[in-house]
């Protein structure tokens, strides 16, 4: 995906004296992809982001953002990349529109373009009525949305979002994730960091799990699930019918079956066997009440991975960091 890669990091390293904050990480983000940097606080996510933006020195390794080196050409990078910092701040004594005007002037937009872009951006994040309200009165969720409006106004090709959903209520989170999905629809690549695995799982195309400055795992959520949790798919069935369990166990690909309750069965399979299972139940004239496949949860993957390898301080990230 060389032609469509917007961020390419290779052996990126950041040290503070003796302490290593980011330790030889490599990853790439494609155009229009939502890439998640996930992991606990202090794992090196924010430091990685700051290095991508040229806001902190790079101790080692190479990084290219849209073909520019953030250390040497920070202005070219910052002109094309929008950044929403962790708990973004605005000038409380200015209105939402004035805050964006200041940024727009810094970017260098002329008056007409500036006003047009600001109006559009506020419209798209759902804040058109708050344009002339002071940011001091804004809720946390509105500030986050204003931060996204700033990125939209900038016309950024890459949006880098640091903990965009932390501290938001579920409703605001859903709205925010909706805006992030729209970024993708417009071909904007999104790099987002979070320690809230579940929330972010739903929007990310690919994720990198950070641990102590290294990328422990990288790939799509289902890839990681298979790699870490072993068995591929888990299908839950709730149905009534005699001898159902025996019949279901015979479906090709099913490797295990367990009774999880009265009339409830759980199938472990190496592929999605929902349609076959449904067909079996119907064929036996049973009553199918529920049929669902469990998406591997990032949290389960994460916990499983670090529980199974508590001492592992990966010496070579290469196995995971494809």
């Amino acid at each position: 995906m060389s032609g469509d890669t917007v961020i390419e990091a290779k052996d990126l390293t950041k040290t503070y004296g003796q302490a290593v904050a980011v330790d030889h990480i490599s990853f790439s983000v494609g155009r229009g992809e939502i890439f998640g940097l996930l992991g606990p606080n202090g794992a090196g996510k924010t430091t990685t982001i700051l290095m991508l933006l040229g806001l902190t020195d790079i101790s080692g390794g190479e990084v290219s953002v849209l073909g520019f080196n953030p250390a040497r050409e920070p202005l070219s990078v910052k002109r094309r990349v929008g950044y929403l910092p962790d708990t973004v701040g605005f000038y409380d004594q200015l209105t939402a529109a004035d805050n964006l005007r200041y940024t727009a002037r810094l970017i260098g937009f002329r008056f007409n373009e500036r006003e047009k872009r600001i109006a559009e951006a506020l419209e798209r994040v759902g804040l058109p009525d708050s344009a002339n309200h002071y940011v001091g009165t804004f809720s946390r969720g509105m500030r986050q949305r204003l931060g996204l409006a700033e990125i939209l106004m900038k016309g950024a090709q890459i949006a880098i979002l640091d903990e965009p959903t932390s501290g938001l209520d579920p409703h605001a989170t859903t709205e925010l994730l909706g805006i992030i999905r729209r970024f993708k629809a417009e071909g904007v690549s999104v790099l987002l960091s979070s320690h809230l695995l579940e929330r972010v799982q739903s929007v990310c195309d690919r994720v990198a799990l950070f641990s102590a400055g290294r990328i422990a795992l990288m790939g799509t959520v289902s890839e990681l699930g298979r790699e870490v949790l072993g068995a591929g798919y888990v299908v839950d069935i709730e149905a009534e019918g005699a001898g159902l369990a025996e019949r279901l166990a015979l479906i090709p690909g099913v490797s295990g079956l367990e009774q999880t309750g009265i009339g409830k069965l759980r199938l472990h399979a190496d592929r999605d066997v929902r349609s076959e299972a449904a067909a079996e139940v119907v064929a036996m004239q049973g009553r199918l009440k529920y049929l669902g496949v469990q998406e591997p949860s990032l949290e389960a993957i994460y916990n499983h991975y670090f529980e199974s390898k508590p001492d592992e301080v990966p010496k070579e990230g290469a196995r995971h960091a494809a």
């Binding site: 933006l53 920070p74 202005l75 950044y83 701040g89 605005f90 940024t103 002037r105 260098g108 931060g147």
Partner: protein
């Protein structure tokens, strides 16, 4: 390694924003009100004093700045007291404020360098103070005209104008000190206290301390003491030490500029008195020349403090 683009990208934008913020802030309005009151009060009192004086003075107008009547000190006393307070009040939270509001990383992720932000903040505050001081200056000049009704001469205006410029330079010293502390300390309150503390130290304690230190390092010669004179070595050292304080430098400049009869700042040697008509005024250029080292000293202090702040800021982590 050459950086891409200009370091001054966005400088004007930052400066204008800072200027607008300052001019509309409550903090500034309060400071300005205090200064206005003092200007009106001191000029009025000075007028009363001047009206009582019958002696002819070719530089009557400059007396507005320097004349005092008990219990109110003169205008320049208040100015030398308030300019640092205003300067510190404007910039003590310049950089740490952005940190604490968490706006710093967002602003720095725009296509500008940190240079533009810092320099813009300094220039914005300096312009704010300059505007305030120009207004104040015009107020004093106008009130003076109103109260005594004698138009000032060209040289008086020129001297008053130089005085205005020097005051702005003096403000610059405290601006860059406050800016430096706002970079060094993450808490705005700490930065304000540290800057005010340093200002008090230089304004109140240092002049006394300089004398004490000088006597310790160069003990007074008993032969001079017996004659009731000060030992030259001690006096010279005391002055050198005292001049480390910007307040002292400003005071000396003001004396040289506003009092045209000032021939030297510090001990006068016999050679300087040769051919001099004592009490006769010097031309403006000569007065400026006398104070030139002090003026350069103030400008240099401003630049040095700013550069230290600049270097620290460049290396600082932006993350909150």
């Amino acid at each position: 390694m050459r950086r891409e683009g200009s370091a001054f990208n966005g400088l004007g934008v930052v400066m204008l924003k800072e200027l607008a913020d300052h001019l509309t802030s409550v903090r500034f309005i309060i400071l300005e009100l205090i200064v206005m009151l003092i200007a009106v009060g001191t000029v009025y009192v000075a007028t009363q004093q001047i009206k009582d004086t019958v002696a002819e003075d070719p530089f009557l107008f400059l007396k507005f700045f320097t004349t005092s009547r008990e219990p109110l000190p003169s205008f320049i006393f208040w100015l030398s007291l308030l300019v640092p307070v205003m300067a510190i009040g404007l910039t003590f939270d310049a950089v740490n404020g952005e940190h604490n509001r968490r706006t710093l990383s967002r602003i720095l992720s725009q296509p500008i360098y940190r240079d533009a932000l810092l320099f813009g903040k300094f220039l914005g505050a300096l312009m704010t103070l300059a505007i305030a001081l120009v207004v104040l200056w015009l107020l004093v000049v106008g009130l003076g005209l109103l109260f005594i009704g004698i138009p000032p001469g060209g040289e008086e205006i020129a001297r008053a104008f130089v005085f205005l410029l020097v005051t702005i330079v003096y403000a610059g010293v405290w601006l860059s000190l406050a800016l430096l502390f706002s970079i060094l300390f993450r808490s705005a309150a700490t930065a304000a206290l540290a800057t005010l503390g340093l200002w008090l130290f230089f304004y109140v304690i240092w002049p006394v301390l300089a004398g004490e230190l000088a006597t310790i390092i160069v003990p007074p010669d008993p032969r001079y003491t017996a004659l009731g004179l000060q030992t030259p070595g001690t006096v010279v050292l005391e002055q050198i030490l005292a001049r480390l304080s910007p307040s002292t430098l400003f005071g000396e400049i003001v004396v040289a500029i506003l009092d045209p009869t000032t021939r030297a700042l510090g001990p006068i040697y016999l050679s300087q008195l040769q051919g001099a008509v004592l009490g006769s005024p010097l031309p403006l250029a000569a007065s400026v020349l006398i104070a030139w080292p002090q003026i350069v000293g103030l400008i240099a202090t401003t630049i040095i403090l700013f550069v230290i702040g600049y270097v620290v800021f460049q290396r600082q982590e932006v993350r909150a």
